[in-house]
């Protein structure tokens, strides 16, 4: 459960007038003056058609790419202007990623893949294992800990990836089309998992162009041509 008193800011993530211009040629303005604030414990869906700037926005939220202008506050602290090393630190402690392609490392067991989520955080290896095992249990895969990715179904692989994104207890999880490679049954099951985790306190930012998937979110932001088109809460 979240404990807001321990949080340095009311917001897990706050964007202020974020623009992103790809110098090209041709020059592409992928994002124009996007502002939004994500409260701790939210499940936010970001939707938009292909090319509307969803992935660009997710990479900026995740400090993987630097905005052309604007500021980003993660847990109340502006990360724009930080060095590459500092940004890596922010990612290792405060952000979890889930990708459409799962990106599990092939030679590693499910448990080791989850433990990779703690690899760069300076936690001793025994504790990494312990926490990873616990996290695998939370996504319902405790019994598959020693299986290799190619021994798991697509749905199970994405659950492992979710466990990896959550194992270091980040301020928020960024999921870019997490159901993009899953069939409808596994999609429903994964969304059930993300909803449950959110109810248990995890802040989730879910990017999708699948409107059905976005239905799980209490709040939906629609992007159009790099701008916020609508911001609706249920």
């Amino acid at each position: 459960m979240i404990n807001l008193e321990n949080r340095p800011s009311q917001f897990a993530l706050e964007l202020k007038e974020i623009s992103k211009i790809y110098p090209g040629p041709p020059i592409v303005q992928a994002l124009s003056e996007i502002s939004m604030a994500v409260t701790h414990g939210e499940l936010l869906g970001i939707i938009g058609s292909s090319g509307s700037g969803k992935t660009t926005l997710l990479h900026i939220m995740g400090t993987l790419s630097i905005p052309s202008s604007g500021s980003i506050f993660i847990d109340g602290r502006n990360v724009v202007g930080m060095s590459d090393k500092q940004l890596s630190g922010v990612r290792s402690q405060q952000i979890g990623f889930v990708f459409q392609e799962f990106f599990l490392l092939p030679g590693f067991s499910a448990l080791e893949n989850v433990a990779n989520g703690l690899l760069y955080s300076g936690i001793p290896s025994d504790e990494r294992k312990e926490r990873s095992f616990e996290m695998l249990g939370r996504v319902g895969l405790g019994h598959r800990a020693n299986h290799l990715p190619n021994e798991l179904s697509g749905g199970e692989q994405q659950r492992v990836a979710v466990a990896r994104a959550l194992v270091h207890n980040p301020s928020f999880v960024l999921a870019d089309e997490p159901t993009g490679n899953l069939d409808s049954e596994n999609t429903a099951s994964l969304m059930g998992l993300l909803t449950t985790l959110n109810e248990e306190g995890t802040t989730v930012i879910l990017i999708t162009h699948d409107l059905e998937v976005a239905e799980s979110a209490q709040r939906k932001i629609t992007l159009r041509d790099g701008r916020v088109d609508s911001d609706l809460s249920r």
Binding site: R91, N116, L119
Partner: protein
Amino acid sequence: MDHSTSDKFSELHSKMGLRDILSVGSSGLRTRRVRAALSVIGITIGIAALVGILGLSQSGSADLLKDLDALGTNLLTVQAGDGFRSQQASLSSDATAMIDRIGPVYEVSATTKITGGVFLNDLIQDGRTKGITIVAADLNLLSAQRGSLKSGKFLDEMTSQFPFVVLGSVAAERLGIRNTSANQRIWLKGKWFIVIGIMEPLPLAADLDRSAIIGYPAAYKFLGFDEPPGVIYVRAYPEHIHDVRSVMPATVNPENPEEVQVGRASDVLEARIAASDTFLNLFVGLGAVALLVGTIGIANVMVIAVIERRNEIGLRRALGATKFHIASQFLTESLLLSILGGITGVVVGMLVTAIYAISQDWSIVIPVYVIAGGILCSILIGGIAGFYPAMRAANMSPTEALRTK
């Protein structure tokens, strides 16, 4: 912003222990074993070649150098050369005494060839002499050569008066005589002589290995032979060896010094060492080429690995790896590859050296610096081969790396 906030953020940096760096660095190899094994073959061959060649040349020339050391470089061989009067020239009968008078000379030993056959007995004289030469020699011949005996004794004051003979190592082998315990007789220029000694090979005078050596008094008494020396072996103090050599012809034959040939017996050994050095350089060159090819091979495999594992790099960056962590992962991988190749190469090189040295009856000499050098060399190669791929991986933009086509 309150104090606790800035404290919390100041802790936010990525950390990774050495063990994790090693484990992550080896993960790429563990999952691609065949490729890893193939990619280090070049390094293995190169290091094995260098270790083997250096080891062998050390073992080989160690023996040569040991020989040279034991035998000394101060033995001169004086003989009558072909003068203008092209008859079988010999030295004057007082040549030995004259040489002895040269200051720095401390040992002079004369020998004279005697024509005649040497046979195991008096029945089989089919004209085949087995290429054994009869030589009359001074009693200090063995010490002048710094030779030793395989069996029996050398000639002395007493035995040189009688029909006793000492055989060179090859001569004994050709006659089938292994030791002197049976007082074996041989048929030497129509007389029985008893074998009292068999010499070990004499590296400084290989022709004496094929000879049957008797004393001058015995040669005179039993064979009626009385001729001046043909070859005189001279030991002089090493620091004066050049001076002794230059005054030798005029001392031995003042009228026709050009008819006297003076050689340094150890020159043959030194030529062999020089020849083995030439081979050494050639093979070191070949080993270096193999290493160069091996380096390029590892660099190539690493560049491919970085391209193939682009998504892994992106993922690790998303999980919080710094550029340094990514660089160290690929550099570790390259170093592990090259060290693997290096260690295998050192082991193979040592085995080759040991097997060859044993087959040649050499002492096995593999200097520590060759082993350490082989490993060090492979570490250097891993660093060089892995540097560019590691930099390329580290500087890949995370968003680029995460892209799937």
